[in-house]
Symmetry: D2
Subunit: 307 residues, 4 copies
C-alpha cells in the first residue's frame, strides 16, 4: 500500500526505510530538502491515492498540531491521519475532533524502539476506531517486530503491537511505558552506584554483565548498560545529567489525577530533575536551617580572593 | 567431578538435577529422608574424595552457620565449602575465617534463577580466592546458563557467571541484584495500576503483552507479568500482599552505610511493608491531625451493633 | 467598613464572627436560610455601599466560578471580589479577567486556620493589585492573628499576612503551604509509627508530649498530635484513612511543571492515596511476579466455603 | 546537688552553665585545659560525694565507650552514669551491662536544643530504671525548659522531659525526633524551592514569614527559616550541601528492621546524600542508558583544550 510520512528525522527516516523494505510505497515529506521525497504537504497528498494514510512523525505540541490542521485542509473523507509522535494523549481527542469534521479518521500510535527500531522493529501501541486502525494495519505490520518463533515469550502474536482502546489510548499506553522505563533505569542506576561504592566488588562491569542471563533482572536495558560499560567501564566520560521528556511527567500527573500511588516512578523523575541542578534550593534551605539551630557549618559559596 | 550438596529443597533439588545432567556425581543430604542420598553430614563427607567441594544450600542465618561449623569439624585442609544460600554478605567473612583455621577454603555464591533455573540455568555471582573458585568452577559451569549463540547480548561469555571479588562479593552482588528486582517489579506494578485505573485503556493485558518485543522495557519480568495476566487477567484471585526477603532490606541498609541515594529501591521496599499492614499507624496519625485542625471527618473504626 | 460574605459554613461562619468582633459590618449570604443575613446575592449587593468588598467563601470549582460570574453581573466598577476559598491558582486569572471587563477588582486570598481561626486568627496569603488589596486591608487586619508581642518570633508584623504577588499568588502560596503540611504530617506519622513499633518505648504519648518544648521539631501540628493522643492514646478509634484535598496534588503538579524535585511531599501525597485503597493493584502485580518466578506463596483472595 | 560533667564543648559548656544557674554544683572535665574545672577523671570522681551522678557529653562511639569504661573503674556501687551524647541506642545496653557489673547505674539521655538550649532549656528523653532516673532528676529539672504557663500547649508538665522506657529508650526517642526533623526540614525546603521557582511569587521571604502565625505549618523550624532568609533573602551565600549525623540513618535502619514504611523520612535522608555528590553515579548510568537506546545527547565531561 501507499503511506504518506511527514517528518523524516532520526525516527521517521528509519521508519520510512523499514516500511519500504516490507514492500510498501512511502512518500516522505520533511522540511529539510535533503531528506524529502516531495517538497510540500500538498505534493505528498497529491501523490497518494484515496483512501490515504498519512503518518505524522514530528515533534509533539505545536508542530504536530499545525501539521494535523494542515492535513485537515488537504485530505478528504475516508482518509486517515496517524500521529506517531510523542504527543500527550489529551491532544489526541482534539486532533480527532478536528479531522472528524471532514470525515477524516485519526489514529494515535505510541512508538517505541529508538535507534534500534530499523533493525529490530518498532513496538506499537495504537488508539482509534476499529475501522481506522484496520486501514493502517499493513503499515503497523511492517513496522512491528517480527514474531520470534524461537522465543519462549508468552505474548505470542500479541508482542509488539496492541490496539489499546479508542483515540488517545495509544499515546496513553506509550506514556505509561516511558514512566516504567524511568524507574527501571533508576533501579539499574542505583544498583550500579552501590556496587561501585564498595571495595568488595572488584569487577563492577563483570557483575552487571553476569546478570544478563539466568537472573530475574535480565532485560534489554540491562544489555544496553553492559554495552555502555564496555565502552566506558567507569562511566568516566559522561556526567550524571539526565534529561526528561514529557512522558515521565505526564505519567506522574495522571497518577495524581487518578489517585494512583506511584512512589518509584516519581522518585525516578525527581532524580532526573535533581541531576540537572547546579545547586539545590531545597538543600540550601536545609543547610541554612542546620546552621540556624545547631551552629553547623555550611559550605559558603566560594568567593574570589579580591587580592 | 564429585559434589556434596546439603539442602535439597525447591532450589537445591533442582540444582542437584542440573549438575547431574552435566555428568557430575552429586551426593545430596537433606534432613528429610525422602530427599536425601545419604543420611548424615558424616556420610556425605565420607562419600567424597579429597579435595572435596561441599555446597551448602540451606536457609540463611542459624541453619547455614550451624552447617558451616559442622563441616569445619568434618572436612580437611584443601576442601572447599560453597555457601549458595541467601546469606547476608557480612556472614561470609565469619564463615571463611572459621574454616580457614583448618585450611578449608570458602566461596560464597549468589544464585538467581528460581523455579526456572533447572531449565534455563542459574546465574551465579561468586566471591572468594582465585584458587578456591577454580576448584568449584566445573560445578559453576554446569549450573550456569549455556552461552546463547543466537543472542545479540553484549555480555558474551560473561553472561550468567562472575567472580565478583573476595569472600562476600558474591552475596553482595546478589543482594544488589535483588534490590534492583524490587524496583523493577514496583515499576511494572505502578504502570499496571495506572493502565487499569483509566477507562481509556480497554485491553490492559494486551498493552502489557505488546511491550514484550521492540520496546525499551522488555524483560524477563515483563514476560512473567504477561503470564500472570494470562492466568488471571484482572489479578482478581490474589491480594496485594507482598513479602520481602532480607536482600531488599540489606540493599537499602548498605546504601545508607555508603551514603548512596536510593529513592526508587527504598520506595519499593516500603511499598511492600505497606502492603502487609491491615491499618497504617502513620496514616492514623495523619487522619487524627486532619481531624484536630480541620474538623475533617475520620473513618471511625466500625463498631459492632450492640443490638 | 462593610463586607459582603458569601458562604457561611464552618469557615465562613467563623470568619463573619471574627470580622464583626473587630467592629465591621458583615452582610452574609448562604444557601441555607438558617445561616443567611440576606436571602439572595442581589439583596447582599443591595445592602452594601459602593465601593463594595464581597468575599466569596464557597467550594472551589463550579460553585466559586458561578458565584464570581453572578457577582460580575451585580457589582459595578470599583468594587472588589475576594476569593477566599480553596481555588486552584490557575482559576484566579480567569476570574480576574472576567471581572475586569466591568472594572471590578479581584483579590485571591489563601486562608489558613481551620476550626481554630476564630480564636487565633486566620493566616492570609493574598494576590492582586496593590489598589485592590488596599481596599480589603481592614478586613484582612480583622481576620489575621494579632501580633504576639511576647513572642520571640522573627517575623514581626509580617506574621499572618502577606501580599505575595499579583492575582493567583495568594492561592499559590496557600497551595505550597498545604503541600508542606502534608509532609510535616507524614513526618510525625512515620515517627509515631516507629515509636509504637518497638517495645523499648513504654510511653509513646509521653515521648511525643515531651517534644513540645525545647526540641527542634516543636510545632503547632505537634501540639495537635499530643491532643489527639490524649483523647485516644493508641489511636484505636480511628482508621488510617486519609483524604486529600486539591492543594497537595496541585503542589506536586507544579513541582513537575517547574522541574522542582519534591520527594518528601510527593511521598506524603502517595501515602494518602495508598491509605484509601482496600487492595493495591501495584502490589497485586508485585505479588503475582513473585509467584511467577519464585513459586512464592501469594495470599489468595479468601473464598467463602461453599459448604 | 553535685554533678560531674565530662565534655565541655558547645553543648556541654552551655549545659554546665544552665545547671549552675539552677543552683547546683558542677565539676567539669574536658581534655582542653582552658575548659576544665579539674584535670582528670580521677579528680572529677574525687571531687564528688557518693552517690555520684556523672554526665558524659562526648562524641558517640569510641570516645563515649572509653569514658564509660574509665568511669566503670573509678566509680562505685550506687553511683549513676548518664550518657547525654548522640550514642546509638544499641550502645546503651552495652554500657549499662558493663557498669552493672560493679553496681553502677546507667541512664541514657537524648538531648535536644542545640545552641538555643542555654536560653530556652534542653528537651530531654531518658531511658533507664526508675531508681537511676530518680537520682538524676534534679539535674534533668534544671536542664529542661520551664513550664510555659502562658502557653496553651496541651502537654503541660509533660513538655520537655520524658522517661521513655528502660535503658536505650532515651536515645531511641531522640533518634526518632531527629528523623522527623529531617523530613520537616525537607518539607520546608521543597516548599521554598517551589515558591522561588515561579515568577508569580514576588516576595518569597514574605510568604514564609507570613506562615509563622495562624497557619497549620507554624513551628520553631519555620521561625528559623525566617531568620535565615532575613540574613540572606535568596540564600545566595550558602550552598545546598547538607551533612547528616547518625540519627537520620539509624531511624531509617530501624524502620527497615521493624518493617515500618518510612517514605518521607528516607527521601529526606537520601536528598542529603545527593546534596553532597559532585556527580551521581546513578544518573551517569541513566544518562548512559538514554544515550544507548535513543542516541540522546549526554553531557560529556569537559576536557581541557590540549592546545
Amino acid at each position: 500500500m501507499q503511506l504518506g510520512l511527514i517528518g523524516l528525522g532520526k525516527m521517521g527516516g528509519n521508519m520510512r526505510e523499514r516500511v519500504r523494505r516490507a514492500g510498501h510505497e512511502v512518500v516522505g515529506y520533511d522540511r529539510s530538502p535533503e531528506l524529502q521525497d516531495v517538497d510540500s504537504l500538498e505534493a505528498l497528498v497529491g501523490a497518494l491515492q484515496a483512501p490515504r494514510v498519512v503518518w505524522v512523525m514530528v515533534p509533539a505540541g505545536d508542530p504536530t498540531r499545525e501539521t494535523v490542521e494542515a492535513l485537515g485542509d488537504l485530505l478528504e473523507a475516508g482518509d486517515v491521519v496517524v500521529d506517531g509522535g510523542n504527543s500527550k494523549f489529551t491532544d489526541d481527542q482534539v486532533h480527532a475532533d478536528l479531522l472528524a469534521q471532514k470525515g477524516i479518521g485519526y489514529v494515535d500510535a505510541g512508538v517505541s524502539g529508538g535507534v534500534w527500531g530499523l533493525q529490530n522493529g518498532y513496538a506499537l501501541m495504537v488508539g482509534g476506531s476499529k475501522e481506522d486502525v484496520a486501514k493502517v494495519q499493513p503499515i503497523f505490520d511492517a513496522l512491528k517486530p517480527p514474531l520470534d518463533k524461537e522465543s519462549d515469550s508468552p505474548a505470542g502474536e500479541g508482542a509488539g503491537f496492541v490496539h489499546a482502546g479508542p483515540v488517545g489510548a495509544g499515546h496513553f499506553a506509550k506514556m505509561v511505558h516511558n514512566g516504567i522505563e524511568y524507574a527501571m533505569m533508576q533501579a539499574y542506576g542505583e544498583g550500579y552506584e552501590l556496587l561501585a561504592a564498595v571495595d568488595l566488588i572488584e569487577d563492577v562491569p563483570g557483575v552487571i554483565a553476569s546478570w544478563t542471563q539466568g537472573t530475574v533482572i535480565r532485560s534489554w536495558l540491562l544489555d544496553l548498560l553492559v554495552r555502555a560499560l564496555q565502552e566506558d567501564p567507569g562511566l568516566d566520560d559522561i556526567t550524571g545529567w539526565a534529561a526528561d521528556s514529557g512522558e515521565g511527567r505526564w505519567t506522574v500527573e495522571q497518577a495524581i489525577e487518578h489517585a494512583v500511588p506511584m512512589p518509584a516512578i516519581s522518585a525516578s523523575l525527581f532524580a532526573r530533575f535533581s541531576s540537572r541542578q547546579d545547586d539545590s534550593p531545597t538543600m540550601k534551605a536545609v543547610a541554612a536551617l542546620r546552621n540556624q539551630f545547631g551552629g553547623h557549618a555550611v559550605k559558603a559559596r566560594e568567593v574570589e580572593d579580591p587580592a
